[in-house]
């Protein structure tokens, strides 16, 4: 990993700061994501293009000889090349140690247990017209007012009549999805 430092120093010399990474994203239409750090990905550091610039002397030499405008342009060029390079060799870098793998399995299973025990899923909640009233059965049992009963039975009768009157007129061909699976 020692060779990463000179590369980073080289880029810092060219750019002066990291803010030019935003310009890169805009200029080359490269969508930033959690994987597109500015040369923070080891895969990018391993790219052969950057290994060739592995020299502090080279960077110092360029920094002294190039004007500021050219430095920025070169900085953009180097970074966009690093981001756009397809690096198959990076695939070997993601292998986990066996111990860490097992530790993570345990950690995840513990967290999922905790989470699923605490989360109340909406489908598990009560359903129905009176779900927002606690102890709805008790409330209904103590309801003695005849007016309330009459009003409720009227609502029900009218609702039922309205449902019976519903009619569907087919005007066009209807495509019915099979709902598979």
């Amino acid at each position: 990993m020692e060779y990463l430092r000179p590369v980073w120093n080289c880029l810092r010399t060219f750019c002066g700061c990291i803010h030019c990474s935003e310009d890169i994203g805009n200029q080359y239409n490269y969508e930033p994501s959690e994987r597109t750090y500015l040369l923070a990905d080891p895969a990018i550091h391993n790219s052969p293009a950057l290994r060739q610039t592995n020299s502090e002397n080279l960077s110092n030499e360029f920094a002294q000889s190039l004007p500021r405008k050219d430095e920025n342009a070169l900085c953009r060029l180097v970074q966009s090349t690093a981001m756009n390079m397809i690096d198959v060799g990076a695939m070997d870098l993601h292998n986990l140690e066996n111990e860490e793998y097992n530790d993570r399995i345990k950690l995840y299973s513990q967290r999922l247990q905790q989470q699923w025990n605490s989360i109340q899923h909406p489908e598990k909640g009560s359903s129905g017209f009176l779900r927002d009233i606690p102890n709805a059965n008790d409330q209904l049992c103590v309801m003695n007012s005849t007016d309330d009963l009459l009003q409720m039975s009227n609502f029900l009768r009218e609702g039922h009549a309205a449902l019976l009157n519903l009619r569907v007129d087919h005007n066009e061909a209807i495509v019915v999805p099979f709902r598979i699976p």
């Binding site: 993570r104 399995i105 999922l112 989470q115 699923w116 699976p181």
Partner: protein, 124 residues
């Protein structure tokens, strides 16, 4: 709750004819949830197989076709469908005659449950 989620995933597994495994892992291939039928298809669940997808998906985006979210790999006896749901990776393993479209249609039915599982990974 864990049993309910597994039951739900198992239900989905049996809805698609020829689907053998549904597995949810993090991007390094560490499994969070797995439901399977009795089939020996461990090749697709090896720790190196899944992170390779994550990298391949990322690198393939640089080819000029844009960022992809699903890779379907067809083999002589099996097919593997891998979906990028970062920080999770969803892996389906089915037989060669399994209807790939049916597997892809499962995505939307799993999304709600994946949100809960993502929390466990994000805390890490």
């Amino acid at each position: 709750m864990t049993d309910e989620v597994k039951k739900y995933f198992n239900g989905l597994l049996h809805k698609v004819n020829g689907l053998y495994i549904i597995q949810v892992t993090d991007r390094d291939g560490v499994p969070l949830l797995r439901v399977s039928q009795d089939k020996n298809v461990d090749f697709a669940l090896m720790p190196s197989f899944i992170p390779t997808f994550a990298t391949a998906s990322e690198q393939a985006g640089k080819l000029g076709l844009g960022r992809n979210k699903v890779i379907i790999s067809m083999y002589s006896n099996y097919q593997v469908v891998q979906m990028n749901k970062l920080p999770l990776i969803l892996t389906f393993v089915g037989g060669e005659h399994c209807n790939t479209g049916h597997i892809l249609a499962l995505e939307h039915q799993l999304d709600a449950h994946l949100e809960d599982i993502k929390l466990a990974v994000n805390e890490a």
